[in-house]
């Protein structure tokens, strides 16, 4: 089995693992991390598709690669927003109300 196919299966596995964590964990931070694992798996699948399409002297199809770069940055901004929401949620649950 080639390296590329192997990483494709790895991406498929990551999607499954991320999905599992996302559904099974009641804790919000864990859901967020699981969602990021799922995202990493999707990016990896795109990367495999890019690598398989290596042509014209490039190591991979640049279009999926560019999409993944955009995706990583967007996923990070979404993670930051979600993390801030989690903090607010956790602060709101405190007995002394509006702390810090």
């Amino acid at each position: 089995m080639s390296t590329v196919t192997l990483f494709g299966l790895c991406g498929a596995g990551l999607v499954g693992i991320g999905l599992y964590g996302l559904i099974i964990h009641p804790e919000p931070l864990r859901k967020l991390l699981a969602f990021n694992i799922l995202g990493g798996g999707v990016f990896l699948l795109l990367g495999v598709i890019a690598r398989r399409a290596a042509a014209a002297g490039f190591d991979g199809d640049p279009v999926p690669q560019a999409i993944v770069i955009t995706g990583i940055v967007v996923a990070f901004s979404a993670t930051a927003l979600a993390a801030t929401l989690l903090l607010k949620l956790s602060d709101a649950g405190k007995p002394d109300g509006d702390a810090s």
Binding site: S90, D91, K94, D96, A99, S100
Partner: protein, 97 residues
């Protein structure tokens, strides 16, 4: 030469895998952070070795990025929690100038 460098990278990756045991088992947060630190250093070494093995010089930049940002997680961790959530008192021993 390329074969040897790849083999060396594989060996360091094996060490990295062993180091992951410490990251996953802990016990303390400090232990986990140390393992992450080792992961970053090993990652930089692997990038360099692969860079020469497959003759892709741009991979040195990946190693540089890993090296540059390696200490940031430890630095963040060293901060006091900055919120009542942690309930941690300031360190009792004052710093002597």
């Amino acid at each position: 030469m390329a074969e040897f460098l790849t083999a060396a990278a594989l060996f360091i990756a094996l060490m990295m895998a062993l180091g992951m045991v410490r990251l996953l088992r802990g016990p303390g947060a400090v232990d986990r952070m140390m393992a992450a630190q080792l992961l970053g250093t090993s990652g930089a070494a692997i990038c360099l070795l692969i860079s020469f093995a497959v003759e892709l010089p741009a991979l040195i930049d990946v190693a540089l990025t890993l090296a540059l940002l390696a200490a940031l997680a430890a630095a963040t961790m060293s901060l006091k929690a900055g919120s009542a959530a942690q309930g941690e008192k300031p360190a009792p021993q004052g710093e002597k100038p």
